[in-house]
């Protein structure tokens, strides 16, 4: 009986150790690690696992997802940056890479990585309760103008992407809002459904089930084009306000990774991105797929980083 038990314990250890994830010379001759700065089970993790699986075949090696979480993304981004620049560690970089540096929370920026590609962008949308007196963005702005600081707008946390989206709206429309930070987008949406706040500025994907059920209504989205899932919702540009703002995700490797290695990785991940499995997966998860090459990604980040820092200064979030 003792033997059985010992065997059982050994099995348990193996499970635990296997669950810890493996650590990652011609390229690639061994598995590649994909560092995700966010927890297993979240949106970023889902994309990493979906894409990782799809890119394994073209790469000819296994891709292991390693969730290095903590510090609002700071720890994982740092781990990916400080990894060996041999291409065996790829990092899924996210929007927080632009908002953490102005707060002086991390000593590095996106410029300290070599970029591989951008994967998706998800715009912010201004959403209110279905029975709200605001029918259009104009109603909302006008009310906020006559009642400065009165409208409670929920966001997903201090200095989070959706907090900055609301800040940008304030700046461009010349209004003053009352920002209410929540611990993530879902609790903010719940409070809106319960009628405890007046609006949220989160992505369409995060409110779509309530909008489709007729509990909430989207006034406008902060992108260049309308969302195919919500063809009736105008963009802010159409509504007369020049506001575009989106969160994004992309892939990067440590600085000075050899060019040929970067090419192999970029090709493999692009093939994975184009694969029918990944496209199907992205559609189901309502991801706003938006591939951009390394060079285009850089131009995009230069502009977004400047916008982000400016808004953060306005919101007193930048040091």
């Amino acid at each position: 009986m003792k033997k059985t038990f010992a065997l059982l314990l050994i099995c348990l250890f193996v499970i635990v150790v296997a669950g810890c994830g493996g650590q990652a010379e011609k390229f690639p001759t061994k598995p590649v690690t994909l560092v995700v700065p966010w927890a297993a089970g979240g949106g970023t993790d889902a994309i990493a696992r979906g894409l990782g699986k799809a890119a394994e075949k073209p790469l000819g090696q296994t891709i292991t997802v390693n969730n290095v979480t903590g510090g609002g993304g700071a720890v994982g981004h740092g781990a990916g940056l400080n990894a060996k620049n041999d291409g065996y560690t790829v990092t899924m970089i996210t929007f927080e890479l632009l908002s953490l540096p102005p707060q002086k929370l991390i000593p590095f920026t996106y410029k300290d990585y070599d970029l591989l590609m951008r994967l998706n962008t998800d715009p912010a949308a201004l959403t209110v309760k279905a029975d709200s007196p605001f029918k259009t963005v104009k109603d909302f702005v006008e009310y906020a103008k006559t009642n400065p600081g009165k409208v409670n707008v929920g966001n997903s946390g201090p200095a989070s992407v959706w907090h900055l989206a609301a800040g940008l709206l304030e700046e461009k429309a010349g209004i003053k809002l009352n920002h209410v930070p929540f611990n993530g987008a879902a609790p903010a949406v719940t409070d809106l459904v319960g009628g405890h706040i007046q609006a949220v500025t989160v992505s369409p994907a995060e409110v779509q089930s309530q909008v489709k059920a007729g509990q909430l209504k989207m006034l406008a989205i902060m992108s260049d084009k309308r969302d195919p899932n919500f063809p009736d919702v105008p963009t802010f540009k159409e509504a007369g306000y020049d506001i575009t703002f989106a969160t994004w995700r992309g892939l990067a490797v440590p600085k000075n990774t050899p060019e040929n290695v970067k090419k192999v990785l970029a090709d493999a991940f692009k093939q994975g991105y184009d694969s029918p499995e990944f496209q199907e997966f992205a559609k189901k998860a309502s991801l706003g797929l938006a591939y951009a090459s390394a060079a285009d990604f850089k131009t995009f980040l230069d502009k977004t980083a400047a916008d982000t820092e400016a808004v953060m200064k306005k919101l007193n979030l930048a040091k």
Binding site: G70, A74, V180, A186, S209
Partner: protein
């Protein structure tokens, strides 16, 4: 109509492939839950990719099995090695481990599986028949109500203070102090992080838990490693005795309702519900002095509540599209990837799917019961292992558990630091559980109070003008007063006893 749909749901669930996967999920759930450091959330998250290729009801069934199994599994290590396998089992330690020390591990384990099953199954039943009604109430909860709930929960600190209110309060405040470490939840500025990025989110909960409870016990155990102890014969039992059931019955029913409701409120999960139910059980008990020293109803309250919470947490997830706790947040993601968008429309468009989830949840709880009963005979063997072998094993499990939460060596160091703190606390008779309660509820109290004040533009009356929030705050005050009176009486009695009969050693 409803029954008809439910029967159809069971029809789907009892197909061999689906049933097999739920069983597989439940067994792995129990193991995941029992291992310190692997939580229900991680278990579900890590296995989601395996469900992509499966039909929806099979994949979701397996995940539900993991969910239910893991919440129960946490109690096994809580009772046997003083380490809650998941945060949900933190309240189970309070009486589960003392029972084990008295040589009644079998009794505690059988009560744990029984209460888990009754709580979990009833929670699933409530979810099946009252989802729309409960989710309407849950929507009434906003920042002021969460503040009320957190304060009510914190008032329990007095009840779990052990021998001295003062020491309990000191421990509680120490926990509150620790919970302020990290990025400010409203302004985003780092507090007491000393430049460590790993502290931005505060000291990680699981490593702290492992340190305070498991490592401190290891350090203490090393002192007496080679001391020959009379091996206590463990009475094996599969089901709790009739006396125990009769004693705990009312508590289980009450805890089930508390657990389901707290689960249904987004933002409060099984860890909180277990503590609230435990506090209520102690408050309403005729022998409150036995709590914390191996009271079987204490185990029953905590386990019934945290398992009832699983059904409760599913309610807002399915009917509103907002998760009730961390695990259901991950489950929501899994459903979305399968092409099902939870929310009011799910009940309209995929009612068959909804009912197969209900049926799956009940089946998972039934299987959990069977797995648990079958497993008890193996679990109890752990304590008959020689101490000189068991203690290194617990030490290793603790280190691996602390590391695996975030793949972080920093967390291992954190666990060791808290292990040392916990060791000295035990030595000087400070209770460790108030720290835990403060760590769970402190952040909720802080952020909801500040959020309420932002929404009200700085007006404190928002806390007292909303009925639910006012009721919760009044309950907290009442609980504070009665618990203090009760505790002071206890202390007096103990003093009197000690005076009569001077303690020989400790």
């Amino acid at each position: 109509m409803e029954l008809d749909l439910l029967l159809k749901g069971f029809g789907v669930v009892f197909q061999p492939s689906c049933f097999g996967l739920i069983l597989l999920g439940t067994v792995s759930g129990v193991l995941i839950g029992a291992l310190p450091g692997l939580t229900a959330t991680m278990g579900v998250a890590l296995l989601i990719p395996f469900t992509f290729g499966l039909p929806v009801h099979q994949g979701v069934g397996m995940l539900l099995g993991i969910f239910c199994g893991a919440i129960y599994g946490g109690s096994i290590s809580a009772i046997l090695i003083r380490t809650p396998g998941t945060p949900a089992a933190a309240a189970t330690v309070l009486d589960g481990y003392p029972l084990n020390q008295k040589g009644e591990a079998g009794r505690a384990l059988s009560m744990s599986i029984f209460a888990s099953f009754v709580g979990g199954f009833s929670g699933a039943l409530i979810m099946t028949f009252a989802s729309p009604q409960i989710s309407r109430v849950a929507l009434q909860f906003s920042a002021p109500e969460y503040f009320g709930l957190a304060i009510f929960g914190l008032s329990i600190i007095i009840s779990i203070s052990g021998n001295s209110i003062v020491k309990g309060i000191i421990a509680g405040f120490f926990g509150m102090l620790i919970s302020t470490i990290g990025l400010d939840p409203m302004a985003g500025y780092p507090r007491f992080t000393f430049g460590f990025m790993d502290l931005f989110e505060g000291p990680a909960f699981i490593p702290t838990l492992i340190g305070l409870f498991a490592l401190s016990e290891v350090f203490k155990g090393v002192e007496v490693l080679y001391k020959q102890e009379a091996v206590k014969a463990v009475k094996q039992q599969l089901l709790p005795s009739w006396t125990d059931i009769r004693k705990a019955w009312l508590t289980i029913v009450k805890s089930t309702f508390i657990g389901t409701f707290i689960g249904a409120v987004p933002g409060a999960g099984s860890d909180i519900s277990a503590f609230v139910a435990y506090g209520e059980a102690k408050r309403s008990s005729k022998h409150p002095e036995t709590f914390g020293k191996g009271e079987i109803t204490g185990v029953a309250a905590a386990e019934a509540a945290n398992n009832a919470c699983t059904g409760g947490a599913m309610i807002p997830m399915l009917s509103l599209g907002v998760p009730g706790d961390a695990v259901t947040a991950v489950l929501l993601g899994a459903l979305v990837i399968q092409g099902l968008q939870p929310g009011p429309l799910l009940f309209k468009d995929h009612i068959d799917m909804v009912y197969s989830i209900f049926a799956g949840m009940m089946t998972a709880n039934l299987l959990m019961f069977l797995v648990g009963i079958f497993g008890i005979r193996f679990f109890v063997r752990i304590i008959s292992i020689e101490r000189s072998l068991l203690i290194p094993i617990i030490f290793l499990l603790s280190i691996v558990g602390a590391y695996s939460m975030r793949n972080s060596l920093f967390d291992v160091g954190l666990a060791v630091v808290f292990g040392i703190i916990g060791y000295f606390m035990q030595r000087y008779d400070f209770p460790a559980s108030p720290i835990l309660l403060s760590l769970i509820l402190g952040p909720l109290a802080e952020s909801s109070l500040r959020r309420a004040l932002i929404v009200s533009h700085g007006d404190f009356t928002i806390l007292f003008t909303r009925p639910i929030s006012l009721a919760l705050i009044l309950l907290a005050i009442a609980s504070l007063i009665t618990a203090t009176i009760m505790q002071l009486k206890l202390e007096k009695r103990m003093l009197a006893e000690n005076a009569q009969q001077p303690r020989s050693g400790s």
